[in-house]
């Protein structure tokens, strides 16, 4: 859309040469989003006061116009009125596009710059509301997966963690309605606690350039925003129902918004999803169901020059983890990996037993803004989040129904942002952010704490500036400083404390020693600097070139610092390191992009991300316990480098038929040890054909092919284990990635008008050929195949 506006500006800037007042302006008025002609739209030229209406084909014409610039107001009973400026030079043809559906009001305001760019020199990718609809029964991670360069680190198919250009967890920051999500995101098997159906749009910044939000997004920033509410008297809503054959479940979501001309508004939204055991082509994936319940509520006042909004959301999800993935040690691991089928396959059920996760996330936010003449827009925000994470393992005796992990993470934060308007060509933004966090690990679990109790205080401030140097050339720069202080209480096993020589290195942090544990009080402090610089150059009308350098610094997370013990869900012993410092990333990326309406569009994004003191976890040995051997994985800091390219292309083959292509490649290396990094997504390509016919009830048919190559570069982390049955040692292959695979997906939708409302019916088939496959980035790939064929029926009613 930015390009569109730019194009209009470009047209306006052409000076008029001759004065000829006999020109005709004609064209059509169309629905912005599906190109349906809009009949009965009124067009008024404000300079002459002349008005015409469009016919049934949406066509209009004006005669007797001079070579000049005219302002035209276009209105339609079902659309928001919009103004356009148009340059007449001879007989001119021009189509106007209006937003037709209330649900997409979003987009209208988008053009009015309600959705601001998070960075100017990185090409942001936005997933629109319409696309999000197709993921209604899935998760945020599933939707993000549709972007080139984004893949996911999965635990089964319900725990989907976004991975941006090869990086995930603490390196990917998620901003939900302006609030940085604090939902134990350090864990590889912890999915974002966001309801996809509460999200109006998603923006993705590949890299740390969005300094307003964070300085530590080594991988990238995901920004979700609610639908904007129009400034008019209206009541509207939407209900969506998805039924899926795989998992034999449904997802229902509903939302209702009331808005008033005077700026007051209120909205309510809720989702319930219930799925039973999912199925691979050849067997049931026992204990993989999920039960998700979400609710959100907001109200506010928008007076254009001031306003406020209060928002509350509750996210609750109970997720079963594949039963066959719960193991008692390396010997079990050998059996599980060597078996083609999961070792436990039971009959289909909706019940969710251990191992499982049960997470609850509350988010409350209050935000106000005021515009001051000559200064700019000042925003103040306070938010509170409470994340309660329960993980249940298979346990014995009295503990059988007790959680093995019970963490409660509370976060308060307060932010002040100023978007200045001090200088006309210079956008200068600045802000301060303070937050307090408290993590409490409930000792009643009877399992030693995976993450210790801690309090964390942080304070950050930033400033960013963008300057329009030339009409087609924009430069951007920014800086940010973050201070973090942690006050931690951690019990170490005495044997571990001494084996690491911590008793000699850190004697001052010991508070007391018990029978076999040492209580310590580490108080680490981190000072992090981050910065960004770049430019955007627009040329030949429809091309743009983005270039950006970002420096990001990330403080180690509690897991990297304090892990010490058996991580059940990974069947390995994980050890952190008290002495870690912040990791520092330098990312350089450039985008070359062509965007036209119709024809051939493309974008290519090569990047290099060089990370000093990159924190990785890797195997360092095997530890004997009474349960047999366990592999020991230790965190370590190294120098790493990620290189890659993301490619998108779109070609309008015929009026109703388009072809789209995506390709992503990323390579990651440990430069100190000169070996590949673990868990780097394999190269993949997605190609699709979409037929869309606005004249035929907006029928949409899409066929998509997804090809994932085998990862050919990976570190060798295999280890040996003694098998008593045979009296021999056997190699446990935990390294070799699974082979390449190809999936086909089919989707279709059609829109049926009802009186005063609209019903959309969609039908799709995922994994059309019921292909058995395993993905390198699914943590359960050792034990079971991924999902088989899935029929989905989607009904959406707008009212």
């Amino acid at each position: 859309m930015r390009f569109y506006a730019f194009f209009v500006l470009l047209l306006c800037s052409i000076p008029s040469i001759s004065q000829n007042c006999d020109n005709q302006l004609r064209g059509r008025v169309l629905d912005l989003h599906d190109e349906t002609p809009l009949a009965g739209a009124t067009l008024i030229i404000s300079e002459t006061g002349k008005a015409v209406q469009t016919n049934l084909e949406g066509e209009y014409s004006f005669n007797g116009l001079c070579d000049a610039i005219y302002s035209i107001q276009v209105s339609h009973p079902l659309c928001l009125t919009r103004g356009f400026q148009i340059k007449i030079s001879g007989n001119t043809e021009r189509d106007f596009r209006l937003e037709h559906h209330l649900e997409e009001l979003n987009q209208v305001i988008l053009e009015g710059k309600a959705f601001q760019n998070k960075t100017e020199s990185i090409d942001e990718i936005r997933i629109s509301n319409e696309e999000l609809d197709r993921y209604s029964s899935g998760s945020l991670g599933d939707a993000l997966n549709s972007i080139s360069g984004v893949s996911s680190l999965n635990t089964g198919n319900t725990v989907v963690k976004p991975l941006i250009n090869g990086l995930h967890s603490s390196r990917v920051v998620i901003i939900n309605n302006g609030v940085r999500m604090e939902d134990q995101e350090w864990g590889a098997e912890h999915a974002p606690n966001i309801d996809i159906n509460a999200v109006g749009s998603i923006s993705l910044v590949k890299g740390a350039g969005a300094l307003k939000y964070s300085g530590d997004a080594v991988g990238g920033v995901i920004i979700t925003e609610s639908q904007k509410v129009p400034l008019k008297d209206t009541l509207y809503g939407q209900t969506r129902l998805t039924a899926a054959s795989n998992g034999r479940g449904t997802a229902v979501t509903s939302e209702l918004t009331r808005a008033y001309q005077n700026g007051w508004y209120t909205g309510l939204q809720g989702t319930v999803k219930r799925f039973g055991d999912y199925e691979a082509p050849d067997y049931i994936l026992s204990n993989t169901g999920n039960f998700e319940r979400n609710f959100s509520f907001r109200f506010g006042l928008n007076n254009v020059d001031s306003g406020f909004e209060a928002y509350y959301s509750l996210f609750k999800n109970e997720i079963g983890i594949l039963r066959a993935s719960h193991l008692g040690g390396a010997q079990d691991q050998v059996n599980a990996i060597n078996s083609d089928r999961p070792l436990i396959v039971r009959d289909f059920t909706y019940s969710i037993d251990a191992p499982k996760q049960d997470v609850t996330h509350h988010l409350a936010r209050i935000e106000g803004f005021k515009k001051f003449q000559g200064l700019g827009k000042l925003k103040l925000r306070y938010d509170f989040q409470r994340n309660n994470r329960l993980e249940f393992d298979i346990r014995r005796g009295d503990d059988a129904d007790k959680a093995s992990l019970d963490l409660e993470l509370d976060t308060h934060s307060l932010a002040i942002d100023l978007e200045s308007e001090l200088y006309p060509d210079l956008n200068l933004d600045a802000g301060i952010l303070g937050s307090y966090q408290n993590n409490f690990a409930d000792p009643n679990t009877g399992v030693r704490r995976l993450i210790p109790d801690y309090e964390k205080y942080s304070l950050g401030f930033y400033t960013t500036a963008s300057y329009q140097l030339f009409p087609d050339f924009l430069v951007e720069a920014g800086g940010r400083y973050d201070y973090t202080y942690m006050d931690v209480f951690k019990f170490y096993r005495k044997s571990f404390w001494e084996s690491k020589n911590y008793d000699e290195i850190y004697p001052e942090i010991v508070i007391e020693e018990t029978n076999n544990q040492v209580l310590t009080n580490p108080q680490p402090e981190f000072h992090n600097l981050s910065a960004t610089a770049g430019f955007r150059y627009e040329f030949r009308g429809d091309y743009s070139l983005f270039f950006n350098y970002s420096l990001a610094s990330r403080a180690p997370n509690p897991s990297e610092l304090y892990s010490e013990g058996l991580h059940h869900s990974a069947s390995r012993i994980e050890l952190g390191n008290l002495g870690f410092k912040s990791e520092v990333s330098h990312k350089i990326g450039a985008t070359l992009k062509r965007q036209t309406s119709g024809g051939f569009n493309f974008s290519v994004y090569p990047y290099v991300n060089t990370i000093n003191d990159f924190i990785i976890i890797e195997p360092t040995g095997v530890q004997q316990t009474i349960r047999g051997n366990f592999q020991v994985w230790e965190y370590r800091q190294t120098n790493a480098q990620l290189l890659g390219v993301d490619l998108d292309a779109n070609f309008q083959v015929m009026r109703n038929l388009s072809f789209n292509h995506q390709f992503s490649l990323v390579k990651g290396y440990d430069r100190t040890k000169d070996e590949p990094l673990i868990n780097i997504p394999a190269a993949n390509t997605t190609n699709g054909l979409v037929y869309q016919d606005a004249d035929l009830k907006n029928l949409r048919l899409g066929l998509q092919s997804e090809y994932v190559f085998a990862q050919n570069e990976y570190p060798d982390n295999n280890f040996e284990v003694f098998i008593p049955e045979t009296g021999t040692s056997e190699i446990v292959d935990v390294s070799t990635p699974p082979g390449a695979y190809h999936l086909l997906h089919l989707n279709s939708s059609i829109e049926l008008p009802l009186n005063n409302s609209k019903l959309s019916v969609g039908f799709s088939i995922n994994n059309l050929l019921d292909t058995s496959y395993r993905n390198y980035l699914n943590r359960l790939r050792y034990y079971a195949d991924d999902l088989g064929r899935n029929f989905l029926l989607n009904l959406k009613l707008n009212y």
């Binding site: 008692g328 079990d332 306070y382 014995r396 030693r448 205080y457 209480f489 084996s499």
Partner: protein
């Protein structure tokens, strides 16, 4: 009015900051692993009378870096029959918790397996069974043959397939204990 709202918000800011700075050190309570088995003691009592033999593995730091201490009190006599019994303890708790009782309560979900390496002239028979009549094996009978030496491995599994004929590779389930002793028959 609007200005008032902003002043109120700034006051709120002050409130949050001061409420964050009260630093009462709440020292968390210690957690000892409840389900850890630190010690397995196998007692072999000669059926015909004589000295008891004990095989023990003890790992007081659980998943910590120290390896289990494995001890065998002495050699087994040739051509003899022993009554065996197994005791499991969690010694991180005080007093030590007897885990054998839990295993015997949930007998249908548990089973011991005895694996004798090639060359060791020993056979082991189950001596106790679960409520369904399938093998449990916290008690057993061990019979020795001619003089020899080799490994004797005890494996405890839960959530396994029963009956399995005492065949570990067919049993599935999850391993609670896997302890190998080097024994000799003299």
């Amino acid at each position: 009015m609007k200005n008032l709202k902003f002043i109120a918000m700034f006051l709120f800011l002050g409130l949050v900051i001061t409420s964050c700075s009260d630093d009462d050190d709440n020292i968390p309570e210690e957690v000892n692993e409840e389900e850890v088995i630190t010690t397995m003691t196998v007692t072999l009592t000669p059926a015909g009378g004589g000295d008891e033999i004990t095989l023990q593995t003890r790992d007081l730091d659980g998943d910590g870096p120290n390896a289990p201490e494995v001890t065998v009190s002495g050699p087994l006599a040739a051509n003899a029959t022993y009554n065996g019994s197994i005791v499991l303890l969690n010694e991180t708790e005080s007093p030590a918790e007897n885990i054998t009782e839990e295993v015997e309560e949930e007998d249908e979900e548990h089973q011991f397996f005895y694996t004798v390496s090639n060359g060791l002239n020993v056979t082991v028979e189950y001596a106790n069974f679960d409520d369904d009549g399938n093998e449990l094996g916290t008690e057993f009978t061990l019979t020795t043959g001619a003089a020899s030496s080799g490994n004797l491995t005890f494996t405890l599994r839960h959530d396994l397939t029963k009956p399995n004929g005492g065949d570990l590779s067919a049993a599935g389930g999850e391993t609670d204990i896997s302890a190998t002793f080097n024994v000799s028959v003299e």
